[in-house]
């Protein structure tokens, strides 16, 4: 896209909390904005764009958040497409800056999913919504876990993907979490531990599912030109894509997910190929999410995802390192997780990841998934580079 390299992530901040019964949602968001502005070397006075969405906010929560921080932005975007929202917001902010709608845009998320006791995976889809599709699904007991489980079941049937291959994803994420002091769960686990954990919705075990935490984070996006004069090395936005997938009037191919389209757009617009990607952040709501996403992004052929994630390939020191923070499976998953994908990708590109730093990390991909693969979902892909 003509936007390639014109804008940059100038500041990032991941709130260290994983449980914050003493903090409000907006406090976590405000502290995250403060952290990201400090990282960039900017102040609240520089902010003239705001992007946010959330599970704890009302539909017009972005107005309330601007009220909370006394912001009067020239650009706002509250696109709410689930966990991928903040990956999409990053692209929207880049487009807005490039179009001259604003100069410095913050993308922010916060949630108290854990301390507020939201049943994110096992209750969130069970209640009836008002949309037409909900009337035909709600009566049958869908849950987020159940919706992903049906994708896993079909994948195993079609391609012989094994529970051990799914478990390998969780084991690698936990290994990465052990190197992240902020991660919620840091004790190593084995494939046997995953398989021995109870079934939540077959074939997915407890340890195939993301954790529930509190948390938040923020990004500061500005023009590449302005970013070059700021405190940290700019992380350039090279390309992005987004889309949705759904039941397709009852005729969907369920193993084709949004990543196929959003990924293709992001690669085309960035002008890079799969071989150029040194590191990836792949939304890991469930172990099957990672396998299906890697296939649909084109890092391996459809059906080969199980073999692809095996043998330590996904480790920080493997052939295809992903989710070095420990991911949603072990580090944090406060209802939606997309913002952390961009934060960790930026930190890797700045060489700030300490023991879990990926060698020679120049180009990174972040892919967010929102909603539920087995019902309907969004995908947003972002490609970032440090040169």
């Amino acid at each position: 896209m003509s936007l390639s390299g014109k804008t940059a992530v100038a500041g990032v901040y991941e709130h260290p909390t994983r449980f914050a019964p003493d903090k409000s949602l907006f406090q976590i968001m405000g502290e995250s904005v403060r952290g990201a502005l400090d990282d960039a070397g900017l102040t609240i006075k520089d902010v003239d764009g705001v992007c946010t969405a959330g599970i704890g906010m009302t539909g017009m929560g972005i107005i309330s958040f601007c009220d909370y921080l006394n912001l009067t932005p020239n650009f706002v975007d509250s696109t709410s497409i689930g966990g991928s929202s903040f990956v999409a917001h990053t692209a929207h902010a880049a487009a807005a800056i490039h179009a001259g709608l604003c100069d410095v845009c913050v993308v922010v998320y916060g949630s108290t999913a854990s301390s507020s006791r939201f049943a994110v995976g096992t209750g969130g889809f069970g209640t009836m919504g008002g949309d037409p599709c909900d009337q035909y699904e709600g009566p049958f007991g869908p849950t987020t876990v159940g919706a992903y489980a049906m994708i896993a079941q079909r994948h195993m049937h079609d391609y012989g993907t094994t529970p051990e291959q799914l478990a390998e994803v969780a084991v690698t994420m936990r290994m990465h979490a052990s190197m992240n002091p902020a991660a919620k769960y840091r004790d190593p686990i084995t494939v046997e531990d995953v398989l021995a954990s109870r079934i939540i919705s077959s074939p997915l075990h407890l340890l195939d599912c993301c954790i529930i935490s509190d948390g938040g984070g923020a990004l500061v996006i500005t023009s590449a030109e302005r970013a070059r004069d700021l405190k940290k090395k700019p992380v350039y936005i090279l390309g992005a894509g987004e889309t949705v997938r759904h039941a397709a009037r009852g005729q969907r191919d369920f193993l084709e997910i949004a990543a196929a389209q959003s990924g293709r757009l992001a690669f085309e617009r960035a002008g890079v190929t799969h071989k150029d990607i040194d590191f990836a952040m792949i939304y890991d709501s469930f172990t099957i999410t990672v396998i299906a996403t890697l296939e649909n992004l084109g890092f391996c052929k459809r059906g080969e995802g199980g073999a692809f994630v095996s043998g330590g390939r996904l480790r920080y020191d493997g052939d295809f390192p992903i989710n070095t923070d420990g991911g949603g499976l072990s580090s944090n998953h406060p209802g939606m997780r997309g913002i952390f994908l961009v934060i960790e990708a930026a930190k890797q590109l700045r060489g700030e990841c300490g023991p879990r730093q990926v060698k020679d990390c120049k180009i990174a991909l972040a892919h967010g998934t929102g909603g539920a693969l087995g019902l309907r979902h969004s995908g947003a892909t972002l490609i970032l580079g440090n040169q």
């Binding site: 009337q135 009566p139 869908p142 049906m150 079934i199 919705s201 039941a247």
Partner: protein, 141 residues
């Protein structure tokens, strides 16, 4: 899996409106329909007021045989929603109807370990309230 029917139905119920009412009324008569576009022939589930292929409002209702096969499924062991919490484990599935569309449903009269993808199934009608009947499926006999 035998469904224990509680005295009062406590699971979520659909909102009936002018657009979807004919479909729910057919289920009350224990008939299952999908829609077909009179202009381009595209079939669709769930029912809606227009064809998603050509946006034509000219709709034909096609009566289904009630037979199909399991496209995918899951047995759910944890769901905190009242009604489902009391029915664990239950089997949710996409059934691919012989008429060519996949619909989300529950499989009944079988255990989780008896279900296989591609297994032939047939519709059973569950009258859950005076207004609402649900189309569920059991292994074909």
């Amino acid at each position: 899996m035998a469904e224990n029917k509680p005295a009062k139905y406590s699971k979520p119920l659909p909102h009936l409106d002018e657009e979807n009412r004919p479909w729910w009324e057919a289920l009350q008569r224990h008939e299952l329909y999908i829609q077909k576009c009179r202009d381009c022939g595209d079939v669709r589930y769930y029912p809606r007021a227009m064809c998603t292929n050509c946006l034509s409002p000219r709709t034909e209702w096609v009566k289904c045989s009630g037979r199909g096969k399991v496209y995918t499924f899951t047995a759910t062991y944890q769901n905190n929603v009242p009604g489902f919490r009391e029915s664990l484990p239950y089997i949710m599935a996409y059934v691919e109807l012989d008429e060519g569309v996949k619909m989300l449903t529950n499989l009944v009269d079988c255990q989780p370990d008896q279900v296989r993808i591609d297994m032939p199934v047939e519709v059973v009608y569950e009258d859950v309230t005076p207004e609402v009947t649900l189309a569920k499926f059991r292994p074909a006999r």
